[in-house]
């Protein structure tokens, strides 16, 4: 096994374990912390895919900003143990197994039908691939309209978050 493969399996197992922790742990704070760990492992996978800028953005935006917001709200609301719901056994896990089977089979079938999924990655990656310079250039030329739309969306997001969270207008 090469170093790349060892790292891939390490990051993959870490990401799957972190995401499982989100679903399995009872306390939402534990869920949030294991989701942060999963995001770090995913960032490692992005580095393996030569997407260095996306890896940094993943850590800064997801693990840094979004999850801090989640933890902030969780600690603001500070739910006690009885507010986390009854510890009852329900039909939900069975439903979950069924959903898991349906979703994984359909996604797997979709991906496997992709004609050359088992082909190796091209080895001659240009040095500029996935750098901040390439992404920035692309954002300012080819993808200028989506970039501006996203900035508009974020502005709407800021305003509406304030409007919704205010006690009264």
């Amino acid at each position: 096994m090469t170093v790349e493969q060892v790292l891939f399996y390490l990051f993959a197992v870490g990401a799957i374990a972190g995401c499982s922790g989100v679903v399995l742990s009872r306390n939402p704070i534990n869920s949030a912390v294991s989701l942060v760990a999963a995001f770090f492992f995913l960032a490692g996978n992005y580095v393996l895919l030569h997407a260095n800028f996306m890896a940094i953005v993943q850590i800064l935006v997801y693990a840094g900003a979004i999850m801090v917001l989640f933890l902030f709200v969780l600690m603001l609301l500070n739910q006690r143990d009885e507010e986390l719901g009854p510890r009852k056994v329900s039909i939900a896990p069975l439903l979950g197994m069924f959903a898991a089977a349906v979703v994984s089979v359909s996604i797997g079938a979709g991906f496997m039908s992709y004609r050359n999924a088992t082909a190796n990655f091209p080895t001659d990656v240009p040095l500029s691939f996935g750098t901040a310079e390439q992404i920035g250039r692309s954002l300012m030329t080819t993808h200028l309209l989506p970039f501006e739309l996203v900035s508009l969306l974020l502005l709407i997001g800021i305003v509406s978050a304030v409007v919704v969270a205010k006690r009264r207008l």
């Binding site: 989100v22 679903v23 869920s31 997407a51 719901g85 050359n116 091209p122 992404i135 709407i156």
Partner: protein, 101 residues
Amino acid sequence: MSLTLEHYLLLSAALFTIGAVGLVTRRNVIVLFMCVEIMLNAANLALIAFSRFHLVADGQMFAFTVMAVAAAEAGIGLAIMVNIFRHKKSLLVDDLNVFKN
């Protein structure tokens, strides 16, 4: 045997499945939100893997946009949740049945 696109796609499918299962089994609204984030990240991983496979950076641009949308969604969604908790004193989906009857 080296790493192929298949490895990353299977990891992406596994993460998406975990997120979907969490979405139907958990009852806390904030945890449901985190499951949505997991599913978005699984989609991002597939996009970036395809971008690396074809050596076209447009996939990373899509992933970048998804991240920005997820940030806006988290901001608004958490504001709504704070408001719901203020009115209903609960964040369990079982208690949020205002539209029933």
